[in-house]
């Protein structure tokens, strides 16, 4: 990775653009929910409102992939370990959720709250993997 590029990347290998698109995506998602609740919109406008959240989301993913490609091989391995743990952990949690909920170990959760679990798992496993090397 050229040094002039590296300075734009944070400790996690994420560029400023990645954080910006993540922020725009979250703002777009909130705005689209608010707009759809407040107004009874026709189909073309509803699609437009949905794109408010979807387009920044797509740009966020593309930026993340670009950033991962810029990382060196060890950083890519760390990233892969973090994403793998987050994916597998969230998958197991989703499968076990009805049982955990029935047993009273977890409260009722929305998909948005489950995504927080995924981000937390990714962050913890990223830090563990980074510390290992």
């Amino acid at each position: 990775m050229p040094s002039e590029k590296r300075r734009w990347l944070g400790c996690s290998g994420a560029s400023v653009a990645q954080f910006v698109w993540a922020g725009v995506f979250c703002a777009g998602a909130v705005a689209s929910v608010v707009l759809l609740r407040l107004f009874h919109l026709g189909l073309p406008l509803r699609i437009g409102v949905l794109l408010l959240a979807i387009l920044p989301g797509v740009l966020y993913i593309l930026t993340m992939i670009r950033d991962i490609r810029r990382l060196d091989e060890l950083q890519q391995r760390i990233y892969l370990e973090a994403i793998s743990v987050a994916f597998a952990g969230t998958f197991l949690f989703a499968i076990l959720y009805p049982t955990l909920r029935q047993a009273g170990f977890v409260p009722a959760m929305s998909p948005t709250e489950v995504s927080v679990v995924m981000v937390a798992l990714a962050t913890v496993s990223y830090l563990v993997a980074k510390r290992r090397y």
């Binding site: 990775m1 040094s3 590296r6 990382l71 060196d72 091989e73 060890l74 950083q75 090397y133």
Partner: protein, 76 residues
Amino acid sequence: MKNRLRVLRAERDWSQAEVAQRLRVSRQTVNAVETGKYDPSLPLAFEIARLFGRTIEEIFEAESDDTSHQSHQDLH
């Protein structure tokens, strides 16, 4: 896998950051390779060898080399 990266770097009085910049990888990667926590890919091993003007075999050595050499001798 053992390596002589630290020795070769010290001979040239290069810092880990300097080697990282020359190899276009992070300093963490250079440190992980030096301490044996991470074995580099073949392309990176070639890059390292080229940087120090050595062959890969002169820099990297498999941990099990002594054992396999011994068992090879035992067979004879």
